[in-house]
Subunit: 304 residues, 2 copies
């Protein structure tokens, strides 16, 4: 199977019809580059509304089979391309998710993944909006392969990448919306970007499979006015199964770039570097604990 | 606590007394640089005998409280420095381990760790020599901190780093013996070295704690004559809790370099990037499986 995947780094345009035209243009560009799959950033239909906690954005959430999914279905069919992004899902009153979706070339939905790890730190108040996912880490089968689709904050968790791989994913995809605090000094910004790239390349290495990332770009103001907003850093990239760049991180500008994944390379690398063979599953029980350190013994003693 | 750790990249000298003098000189150099801990490469007393399978090296193994441990005790006391390396341990007839040891400044043994992940690939036939460890992933408390000591091949396993961190390790140390097949083209060699650095920096990032590595250097011939031997690649380094270099990888030459770990930085980084807070322990059960893919359903059907 020849697999050409497009990574689309793009900004949110506050004019919704124009924004949709821009997404569509990027998908058309991906198709013209002969891509069979297009990876869009996280929550591609929305501004990054999690910069502050406000009830207003909940009105924007849609059921899974909603109008935005219909839009993705139409694009997928029109351009004959698998589309991967995430949606703001309204599942039940009081239960909302950040839900990745894979739409097949024929417009059918190949599968979904509800973001399992939810961040909450200044600028990224996602725990207010998103109920942690309950899909577990299950790859999604489609015409482009068996996709390990994860979302943004998941990229900091080796467990997520590992579980997708153990479940048979043949590549890992991360639709993402991450950026800098524009007021941070450049040394801090470099360190953050470098860490983000490094840990995802490491998922490729640890699991012997390609990793692909598409990120948001551009500055978005903080609606609350309490911060300087977020400068989304772009720099999507593709790494091969030894962490080597197939498409290096490029810039913080919009881009549509295509990578061709080499057939059978994962199988070859996993034989050459047989990490999965040597996992000590008998000794990994502590992974399901918060910490394996117990209550300090001194705490149990009476205090004078 | 001010922590200055020395990373010692060094070669094996086939003249054993001279080799010991070289180790001692490196420890003296570390002490003169005001280090409180010295990290030596894996199996520092030995040539890398795992290049081929032969019963002869088993005669070199020693019980834990053997003459080599005595030698480490003397050096630790003489130079007032914690020493970390690994030994070829004879535990019981038929049970041998690659065992990391932490020797305290006063010559006492602070603790051991038996290498849990054992490689076996051309040039690294360790499964023949080393029984997989049974210590689990328990940090070792000593005057230099709560050390997450792992060994070489462990560095490819995010689970090992994670379990050490969850058990309270305040840094991860990897005594190592890894190198190139000298006949591999330079692109392959670069990719291997880069992957090795990247995945260990990622352990620092995922766990918000420093990672320190010391590696063997120099060429060692394959005793069987079947290969071109191993060119040990050196390039030991220290990364901080965001994966940033505290000491960048240097060269494939011998070196004694000292890094000072910043107090409380792990605590600060783990608050700033609260990955440990957000782990989905409820959904990580698959980590203790080989794979979560079952028997193919078609296999159960009768075949025409």
């Amino acid at each position: 199977m020849k697999r050409r995947f497009a990574l689309i780094d793009m900004a949110y345009d506050p004019d919704p019809p124009r924004h949709r035209r821009q997404i569509e243009a990027a998908l058309g560009r991906a198709r013209s580059l002969d891509a069979g799959l297009a990876l869009l950033p996280e929550l591609v239909f929305h501004p990054y509304f999690c910069q502050t906690e406000s009830p207003a954005p909940f009105a924007e959430a849609q059921v899974l089979d909603g109008e935005r999914t219909d839009c993705l279905r139409q694009w997928a069919r029109k351009y004959g391309i698998v589309i991967v992004t995430s949606l703001f899902e309204r599942r039940l009153p009081g239960i909302f998710h950040n839900t990745a979706i894979v739409v097949e070339q024929d417009g059918s939905v190949a599968g979904i993944y509800r973001k399992m790890h939810i961040p909450d730190d200044p600028g990224y108040f996602e725990k207010y909006y998103f109920t942690p996912g309950d899909t577990g880490f299950c790859p999604i089968d489609c015409s482009a392969g068996r996709l390990g689709v994860l979302v943004c904050w998941d990229q900091w968790f080796p467990e997520a990448a590992r579980l997708m791989s153990l479940a048979g994913a043949d590549c890992l995809l991360y639709p993402t919306a991450i950026g800098w605090n524009p007021e941070d000094p450049s040394a801090v910004r470099s360190r953050e970007l470098d860490a983000w790239i490094t840990i995802q390349r490491a998922h490729a290495i640890a699991n012997g499979c390609p990793v692909l990332v598409a990120n948001r770009v551009g500055h978005e103001a903080d609606p609350s006015g309490h911060s300087a907003g977020i400068r989304f850093w772009g720099h999507g990239f593709a790494a091969g199964p030894q962490g080597e760049y197939l498409l290096p991180p490029d810039s913080e500008q919009s881009s549509v770039r295509v990578v061709e994944l080499e057939e059978d390379r994962t199988a070859a690398v996993r034989t050459h570097w047989p990490f999965l063979r040597d996992r000590r599953t008998d000794a990994y029980g502590g992974i399901i604990e918060r910490t394996t350190r117990g209550i300090p013994p001194d705490l149990k003693k009476p205090k004078d």
